[in-house]
Subunit: 329 residues, 2 copies
């Protein structure tokens, strides 16, 4: 089997230099890099990363746990995480919790067994303790796990404020909010807090209906709206939905029941992921989360912990959000 020494010999450089090229670490001139890469190619050299991981205690693999890989929010986020992890020479093991706590516990155990260097946690299922006990570098998306575990999120409070103020500015008098599941400590719930306080401050009538915990398919949302929201449609003239798929379903539902959007009923969503960007009939009015920057920050925060250790009080990262004016308000 070809070894790193053979590569160094053919390239006329030291083993350390070959190692630095392979790990993409430290300064290496372009010419040297090319020599090493040519030698690796010529010898068909594939370093055994598993053996290296065992020796170095680093696998350069990040575990990512998401609730649903097929959901446009998470597929887009993973796309960006993969991109930025790749720039730092890390690979992704992806895990789909499907919101099942048992599956998620098994995944954490599996990720530890596979010696991933750290975990990016985008799921909402488990109790916080399960994560606090892992003793691994962790970063979470949109959720506070503990004061020593950094999170990355969009400014959910501001997002709720912007959406609510927009409905009020458009003349809505009675506003309803469809939240996410409120029994889990998600930062996304701050959208609902902001909604409530903004309505109180402005003196408009308001109501919060807790969204269902189901996977967000159109059909699930439709059934939820028919049962929980339909009774309020005659009374309320503005609805702020905590995600775009709910907002779109509501738009279609309202149309089917003869409500004119936006004349009789104004709708604001949240996310602006690939599905929403593609949607033109109607273009949704919504709040944009910067998924590109969130993915980048998740990688940067986790790799910082892996390579330089964590600290007792974590640096959280919060990104501003922006209102996208569409045709539903």
């Amino acid at each position: 089997m070809v070894s790193i020494k053979d590569v160094a010999k053919l390239a006329g450089v030291s083993v350390t230099t070959v190692s630095r090229v392979m790990n993409n670490r430290g300064y290496i001139g372009n010419k040297t890099r090319q020599k090493v890469e040519r030698a690796m190619k010529e010898l068909d050299y594939h370093p055994n990363q598993i053996a290296r991981a065992l020796l170095s205690n680093q696998s350069y693999i990040l575990g990512v746990i998401v609730p649903d890989l097929g959901h446009p929010l998470f597929s887009e986020l993973i796309n960006w995480i993969e991109h930025y992890a790749g720039e730092r020479n890390y690979k992704l093991l992806v895990c789909n919790s499907l919101q099942e706590a048992e599956k998620e516990i098994n995944y954490i155990s599996m990720l530890r067994q596979n010696r991933v260097d750290g975990i990016i946690m985008c799921s909402h299922t488990l109790e916080v303790e399960a994560y606090n006990n892992t003793n691994m570098p962790i970063v979470s998306f949109d959720r506070i796990l503990s004061s020593s575990i950094p999170y990355v999120a969009s400014d959910n409070y501001r997002g709720g404020e912007i959406a609510t103020n927009h409905l009020i500015a458009k003349g809505c008098q009675k506003i309803l909010h469809i939240s996410g599941p409120l029994n889990v400590e998600l930062l996304a719930n701050r959208r609902s807090d902001a909604f409530q306080l903004t309505c109180i401050k402005s003196g408009v009538d308001w109501k919060i209906v807790e969204g269902a915990h189901v996977k967000a398919t159109f059909e699930d949302n439709w059934a939820f709206i028919e049962k929980e929201i339909a009774p309020y449609l005659n009374d309320y003239d503005g609805i702020f939905c905590s995600n775009d798929i709910m907002a779109y379903t509501l738009y279609v539902y309202a149309g089917a029941k003869g409500f004119q959007v936006p004349d009789q009923l104004k709708i604001v969503g949240y996310d602006y992921h690939s599905f929403t960007r593609m949607l033109k009939n109607p273009a949704l009015t919504t709040v944009k989360q910067p998924l590109d920057r969130i993915g980048k920050a998740l990688c940067a925060s986790l790799i910082e912990q892996i390579e330089n250790g964590g600290s007792n009080t974590a640096d959280h990262t919060v990104y501003d959000v922006e209102l996208i004016q569409g045709q539903t308000t």
Copy 2:
């Protein structure tokens, strides 16, 4: 550190039994499984999978290369692959080629270095040789790599036939087809072959315009349609698009230019992924690929090669497709 022997002792079973529970292999009674799992939990035992991989030469990790994780077709397919791989105790390393050949070559090398047990190849970029030379278990989606590498696909030819016959049955006289990129040997190109032959047999006028190679965003498709398709819109009364995002963009474009769909222009797409299923204004007429069964077959075929070796002539798997009647025809 806790060892497998400690677990066996506490559970009162043999080391072999513990190993079988961990690997989910061979018959294990429910009671025994529970005893072992309880012992593992009590001792907080996490087997070092990396060390085991090095010893056993199996990592239980599958590499998956897709062109774009953010695309609804591939995010849904990965969702299913993850599901079925998990049932067999395999994990996924995902790689996003973004249609760049160099990135894809690096990924294959990286996957070999990490000793993945095999590769599921859903990308379209590389020359076939790069895959034939890997000496690893491989299965491809929608592409013939060689006679010894199995592929899984929907029956693309039949899909093209169904779509074209549907347009003809709806009264179209001049039909245009927007294909995928034709310079890569994709099975998806059989949709275009079927389109052509079906039109010839039926004596209707036809034309094929090769689709752009770009990432399939709405904006890219719009620019493509404006440049390549707009000149034909007055002349043709039916268009078969090789994917749903193109079909949706075309629907919006045609509407903006004053064409009535489906009265003046009928549109059929292909895929029926999560984006299309959610779309209600309009519901697209399209051809459904069974992504659930395709994901299952990709896993089954690859794991069969990993666990029982490949053969000289591969068993390919082709699934039937079905027309979904929407509002665009």
